[in-house]
């Protein structure tokens, strides 16, 4: 609703300097795509010939699970929340399926993983929505619970052994014609669904409303606790999907598999233009943010830089992009 009002206001100024600023403010995805293109050109300059359809496929394949986890952060950050349990939930889901696929089968494994994820999300939602616990604390506590229970499960399962199911390996790591990652089969419908829900449904609007002004949304009759419970269940289930893809991509089933993706997922959402203070952002930018992070990783590893330099540059880029956003949007 605010989008409509502001875009009509900014239309005449589009070609002036202020117009650029409002373009970046209203459509952060445009400069982000520019940054992504710049990084791709940079990759080609550093290693001529590296940019090929296959390379692009590998980049997309690496970015997809991260983008899904970053999607969890995006939808929770819209309500001024954050979900630090996605790493633990994703690892748990991948691990549970890997331990159950040998016995009860793939379908049961997936159902159990989604069921557990949904319960975790439900409890988180109750804590955040009804007890008004800070989301940072609530999700942190839940991630400890999930990690501990997954470890217990691991010890129970140690005799039967664990293997990543073939279907996940195909889906997570496979490519059509060596170019198009198969995980797009999961990701494209998911991404369309998330974007539609955020932009076209009442639930999506409620997320923006709660994050933008919780008091106003309460006074206009929003039962925010219901919205938050549903939100955190969705976030946990999405994390479960990401966990399946991670275990397929790396062919590893471990209870800490996706932990290292937790902070990059927040970073991808922030780079993608979603405000951690709530009310502003969207999933489109987040996808580009995840792609940017994947390309940066690839550039740095192709330069032969050690992990250390990669991390330092990673951090510097997050600060720089976030600062640029804040500078531009705060002058409104």
């Amino acid at each position: 609703m605010s989008e409509v009002a502001t875009s009509t206001r900014s239309r005449p100024r589009l070609l002036t300097a202020g117009g650029w600023r409002s373009l970046i403010r209203e459509r952060p995805i445009v400069p982000l795509l520019g940054l992504l293109a710049l990084l791709v050109v940079l990759s080609e300059l550093i290693r001529p010939g590296i940019v090929s359809p296959n390379w692009a496929g590998v980049m997309v394949r690496a970015a997809i699970p991260l983008a899904i986890l970053a999607g969890c952060q995006t939808i929770t950050m819209l309500t001024a929340g954050i979900d630090l349990s996605v790493g633990a939930v994703a690892s748990m889901s991948g691990f549970v399926v890997a331990t159950l696929v040998g016995g009860p089968g793939l379908g049961v494994g997936i159902a159990v993983a989604f069921g557990v994820a949904a319960i975790v999300g439900f409890v988180t939602g109750i804590g955040v929505g009804i007890f008004r616990v800070h989301p940072l604390i609530m999700t942190l506590g839940m991630s400890l619970v999930v990690l501990g229970l997954a470890n217990v499960w691991q010890i129970e399962m140690v005799q039967t052994g664990a293997g990543v199911p073939d279907a996940f390996r195909q889906l997570g790591a496979g490519m059509f014609f060596g170019v198009v990652p198969r995980s797009l089969l999961v990701f494209v419908p998911l991404a369309i669904l998330i974007i539609l829900v955020l932009n076209r449904t009442g639930f999506g609007r409620l997320l923006y409303a709660i994050g933008d002004n919780p008091v106003a949304s309460r006074l206009s009759g929003v039962r925010s606790w219901q919205v938050l419970i549903v939100l955190y269940v969705i976030s946990a289930v999405l994390a479960g999907v990401a966990g399946f893809l991670y275990s397929g991509l790396t062919n590893v089933a471990s209870v800490t598999l996706a932990d290292s993706a937790l902070l990059p997922s927040v970073a991808a959402a922030v780079i993608g233009g979603t405000s951690i203070l709530g009310g502003r952002g969207g999933f489109g930018g987040t996808i580009v943010g995840a792609l940017i992070l994947a390309v940066i990783s690839s550039i740095l590893s192709s330069l032969g830089y050690p992990e250390a330099v990669r991390q330092i540059l990673y951090g510097a880029i997050i600060v720089f992009v976030a600062a640029a956003y804040t500078r531009i949007t705060s002058e409104a």
Binding site: F131, V133, L140, G141, S143, L263, V309, Q311, I312, V319
Partner: protein
């Protein structure tokens, strides 16, 4: 000393509400101390041999996390949060371990002083970035988490280095009585020397002021930016101390950050420091760290799966915070 105590007692006795107010103000911390006492009694019951050596082991294992919790407290009181505490610990730990390896004991003193100064600088960088970029604290320190962890990997690629003997001796063993572990004394001395003077100074007051209401603080003449940078410098200093204690207790430096950042946030919240800023102290978080650690010990005594201790930590964190916010909601309603 004794007259001061009796004076205080009289004051409290004179105003009947005084004691009640004091209890109410520190109710959370008192409750934590009560829980800790119960837990100690419980430990003694399930493991009658739990004695001085157990307490010493507890103190040594608690020291790094307790200092990390104090570091986090400084940032949270000023309405910030520092996700880079664990990385700063790793960085200061590897630098100290690398510089102290095969060096004289005297040189190690210089190293310790240098590392503490470095901690102040790291914190100042964090704080300055928060103030200058106006990006939310959590995002800036998340980014700095990567930066400092990367720097730590540049200093030492794999765990290594060494520690001066006197530094190792500082945390191990006991002093005066076998029931008083040196590590606990170090913790108390560090807090007494650094935190308490600051808490009582004008600077400490402005720390709490910008935490509870930055605008009001600004209008009463407090430089919000400068105080915020100062808060992060304190966080950096305590993180450096925590890093040094890691080097001292393990004898080497490890470049990969431990789980300290998130546990420090958990301890701060359990310790009664409001994430909204401006309320709390360092005592509560330290007690919370001891409780969490003792709980883990108890679970091993009970032959329970230690992974259940992680579950218990999570449940306690969530449960305590839920109860806490429930009390607040109740209080607000009437």
């Amino acid at each position: 000393m004794s007259t001061a105590v009796t004076d205080q007692k009289e004051t409290i006795a004179r105003s009947a509400g005084g004691l009640g107010a004091a209890v109410r103000r520190n109710g959370w911390t008192l409750g934590l101390v009560g829980i800790l006492a119960l837990l100690l009694v419980f430990t003694r019951m399930i493991q009658p041999t739990y004695g001085p050596s157990g307490v010493q082991g507890l103190a040594i294992s608690v020291l790094p996390l307790a200092l990390a919790a104090v570091a986090q407290t400084c940032a949270v009181i000023a309405r910030g949060i520092d996700l880079s505490v664990g990385s700063m610990m790793a960085l200061t730990s590897v630098i100290s371990a690398r510089l102290m390896e095969d060096q004289s004991e005297g040189f190690a003193v210089l190293v310790v002083i240098g590392v503490l100064l470095l901690g102040l600088v790291l914190g100042a960088v964090n704080g300055a970035l928060v103030v200058v970029t106006r990006v939310p604290d959590i995002v800036v320190t998340l980014a700095m988490l990567f930066v400092w962890a990367g720097c730590a990997l540049l200093v030492l690629n794999t765990p290594g280095g060494g520690s001066a003997e006197w530094l190792r001796g500082l945390t191990q063993g006991s002093i005066i009585s076998e029931w008083v572990p040196k590590a606990a004394v170090v913790l108390i001395v560090v807090i007494a020397v650094i935190w308490i003077p600051i808490r009582r100074s004008k600077l400490g007051l402005s720390l709490f002021a910008i935490g509870s209401d930055p605008l009001a603080a600004f209008r009463s003449g407090v430089s919000v930016s400068r105080t915020k940078i100062f808060a992060y410098m304190l966080t950096g200093l305590f993180s450096a101390l925590a890093g040094l204690s890691l080097t001292a207790s393990t004898g080497i430096g490890t470049p990969v950050p431990g789980p300290y950042t998130l546990l420090s946030v958990a301890a701060v919240v359990l310790g009664g420091v409001s994430l909204a800023g401006g309320r709390g102290g360092v005592f509560g978080p330290v007690v919370a760290v001891v409780i969490l650690s003792l709980l883990r010990t108890d679970m091993t005594f009970l032959n329970l799966n230690t992974n259940l201790a992680t579950v218990a930590q999570g449940l306690i964190l969530v449960g305590v915070v839920m109860v806490g916010s429930l009390i607040q909601l109740r209080r607000r309603e009437p």
